[in-house]
Symmetry: C2
Subunit: 538 residues, 2 copies
């Protein structure tokens, strides 16, 4: 039997081990079966939860992650559990009189209900007013037994655990298992306030200024990720790239020959920050083989990996001249999304209705997380690019040790994501869409973005010279001799804005800002990539 009725401590280990007897396949149907067996989730205010409560039994048969004590910063190693969050776990005891940590009474919350109008898979996510569905979450739905829901405003809007609510953690854990099937037994998830926040925490968990720690990344990397590392005193080192992103042999070379003295006292970097899909700003996507090579080099040099994947589900087929970049699977899906769905992800058509969704998942390049037999990956997922940026909710996945350190950090910082965001996301993703509905949404969204990409590339084909890539020969600029490259770039940037186009300056994305500039602003072709230079890691 799978873990049941969690929400307090103590039920986990036994239930989970019994589960080893009867592994179920990692399918949408498998999740439905597991949920049905587990019964209704009982997770009142500030309940303790962890991913082990929601993972498939076969997960636990995998090898355990390595330990990372030798890489953790003194700051992270020193963190202890937050006593008030720990004490909150006792609240589940029936009849307990709490003179402890103060939870404001939900009687005084000035929100009786929250409703939203959302598109549905049954209506192909049409946003026409008549195709929308109104979904409501009340203050005391759970206590009053309104609907099937297991989260209400009295729970979501009170203090919670920093890992996030059990209700949304369950969804995120199941989704992660379905899509990535992590390779270690002791993987876990934690909700975050978005990937910029979780990356900042990760830097502090593994990086220490006084130790001379550094970060490896693509030679052109997400500007905010670079800006997050710099004030912490973490040096950043760029790895040369090709159209598939960072070059593993170059990384190997860099680390093999590392000379601390020549690097001004910088210790050999022990962390890689990478955006494997739709890398920012180059748009490069690592192939499966490339990812395996990167992982092998990280193993060889004992490098820990921060995998930042905001665009994972926006992997598109390469652009075809004349348009139509939709993938076969996606195109196929469009005609089958009429499959009606019911709450809790139960498909009316049963498991047959899952075929297109499961085919979609098979088109996705496997993540580093999925290959990670050592537990050396901390993956950062985000709803920003695929639901809304304003939820400020994402999640991290990694080994139990690393996730536990992350939660200790969050307890003394963000205290977990917004309860409004959690309530809305739970209601939409879990109760309304279910896992299959969400995956259909992602297929739909990929189509939308592929259509937009095709439109702009089609326009470029029509109105611009044959080569899309504009390369500016700065040596012919009138001020080439008396102004620096950065000044010239700024002038070009400013005159673009004057003439009505906002661009990004290539220098923003240089991993090593202090290295002398070469001529080219960005050396790689972005065709066929996803997204724009627009913000991996948030």
């Amino acid at each position: 039997m799978a873990p049941t009725n969690v929400g307090g401590l103590g039920l986990v280990a036994e239930d989970v081990h019994i589960g080893r007897q009867a592994p179920e396949p990692l399918t949408l149907e498998g999740i439905r079966t597991r949920r049905a067996k587990a019964g209704k989730l009982d997770a009142p205010t500030a309940s303790y939860s962890d991913s082990d409560m929601f993972k498939a039994p076969q997960s636990f048969k995998k090898p355990l992650a390595k330990r990372w004590d030798h890489l953790l910063s003194p700051e992270s190693a020193a963190r202890k559990p937050c006593v008030l969050k720990q004490a909150a776990k006792h609240l589940k005891k029936p009849g307990l009189v709490s003179l402890g940590g103060g939870l404001p009474s939900s009687d005084n919350f000035p929100f009786e209900s929250l409703s939203m109008q959302v598109p549905t898979p049954a209506n192909k996510f049409s946003q026409h007013a008549s195709d929308l569905k109104e979904v409501t979450i009340g203050k005391h739905d759970v206590r009053d037994g309104v609907g099937e829901g297991v989260l209400d405003l009295s729970i979501a809007l009170n203090y919670g655990q920093s890992i996030g609510s059990a209700q949304l953690l369950r969804w995120v854990t199941e989704h992660t298992e379905l899509v990535h099937d992590p390779a270690i037994a002791d993987w876990r998830c934690a909700l975050t306030i978005g990937s910029t926040g979780s990356l900042e925490a990760a830097y502090r968990m593994f990086g220490d200024r006084a130790r001379g720690d550094g970060i490896l990344t693509e030679e052109y990397s997400f500007s905010t990720a670079l800006e997050t590392a710099a004030p912490l005193g973490l040096r950043v080192f760029g790895i040369p790239m090709d159209e598939q992103g960072l070059l593993p042999d170059k990384m190997d070379e860099l680390l093999t020959g590392w000379d601390e003295e020549a690097r001004g006292g910088a210790r050999r970097p022990r962390v890689l920050y990478t955006v494997p899909s739709g890398q920012n700003p180059t748009g490069a996507t690592q192939s499966e083989e490339r990812r395996r090579e990167v992982y092998r080099v990280c193993q060889k040099h004992d490098v820990f990996i921060f995998e930042d994947e905001p665009y994972y589900f926006l992997q598109m087929q390469p652009y075809q001249e004349g348009g139509s970049g939709k993938s076969d699977t996606t195109a196929q899906s469009s005609s089958t999304t009429t499959t009606a769905t019911k709450p809790h992800g139960e498909s009316v058509n049963g498991s047959n209705g899952d075929a297109d969704v499961e085919a979609f998942m098979r088109t996705l390049i496997p993540s580093l997380l999925s290959m990670d037999t050592d537990g050396r990956v901390l993956r950062h997922d985000s709803f920003s690019k695929v639901v809304v940026p304003g939820s400020r909710v994402g999640w991290v996945t990694g080994s139990e040790q690393v996730i536990e350190r992350y939660i200790r950090h969050a307890e003394c910082c963000s205290q977990g994501p917004s309860g409004f965001s959690q309530a809305v996301l739970y209601k939409l993703l879990d109760e309304e869409w279910g896992h299959d509905g969400y995956l259909r949404w992602l297929m739909h969204l990929r189509d939308e973005y592929a259509g937009r990409r095709d439109a702009i590339l089609g326009a470029c084909e029509r109105f611009l010279p044959g080569e899309l890539w504009l390369k500016v020969d700065h040596t012919r600029h009138p001020h080439a001799s008396d102004k620096s490259l950065l000044e010239l770039e700024e002038e070009i940037f400013d005159s673009c804005i004057e003439r009505g186009v906002l661009a990004c300056r290539g220098s923003w994305f240089r991993a090593e800002h202090d290295r002398p500039l070469s001529g080219a602003v960005l050396p790689h072709d972005v065709r066929g990539g996803v997204g724009g230079a627009d913000g991996g890691g948030d």
Copy 2:
């Protein structure tokens, strides 16, 4: 004229300086007048904004804050503006084609509208179904001119600036000015993800492990605040207290005689963390005179102040034996909250309708922020105790320099609070309740909590011995000779839980965990205080 139609850069300085000609009083009516003059706020997606756009003209006549460069940490001093957030300010240019920072298209946001049922001042905040009002925020209300609102889901749920949306920043700025009237010209606010997050940022802005920095606080202090400081390597030093909280002369003594060597290399602390109202865990509230003395000592030793005030509006009249602890003003207010209100805080009865609200504000002990002529206070406000903890929204107020450093930090960490939370709070606090409605809510809430306090103290009077305070004589514990005080405390804590009562362990709140324990767990009487040991600073 007050600042008008902000939302892009550049309009601030001129508009504001013109305003110096015609100062308006800091009243609810004054805010209404200013808003009416300013016209509709125009603040589309990711707009730049700052508090100067919303402050009363007379604010700018005050002296400027001191500079704090000598106290800022190397981490904070090294922060530069986030280039993508900076670039977003260009989006306001009409017709601009953005190839820059990527904002997902709101066409793909799966939320067409969000509605909530809320209590209203007109119905005395009754939560009976028929007394509630339904308030809706649509995706394109602003573009489509739906209602009077200036924020919609297309704006709130997209990326924004880390300071928060202009719409909610305006409300917070006006509220802060109304309640605290800060003493410097260049004060500003920034939205936060709650006070635990903003306190963590503040510690990092002013504290540096390598410099041997420390923090001063009450000898018993909020446990999470202590737990936040410890892993950063910041030593915490406790100041003796009486029933009004920390003793300024003891603080003076401590700092005057500071011996770095005797303190194991710890630098003389340059930061005070204090909870002036309803201090956690003692419940002590500093009188106005006590606050002035604390401030003077901080000036004398150039100490910067983190003022953490989650309970500011829950200041209650002392408990009277036999109950009825409601303050005169509050009691009076209950009979006058029938004054009908309209959106944007316009009272139907005009300024006369504001009298009880303004009387309520006068009963509040002035904050340290209100006395701060140097700009040495960073005040942390939170909606956790007075609206809902789950919004994970609060705000900080301080000098322009300090708030700017805070925003630079937030850009590479939280990226500002949840858009769902901001949308809901804006809709409730600004459009629906207005400033007067919110203050009436606070009066109402203070009554609610005073009633609860009276009930428990009444029960104590009736069922417990004359002295409420239980003091455990640990020397008479059977294990007094062979167990440590902490072990005894843990045993007592555990047996309380076994018997159905969750308490807080006094040791959690000791500022100096490594100092040998005396006998008493908590030395002060909590009667007449506010709240419980329940979480200042979040």
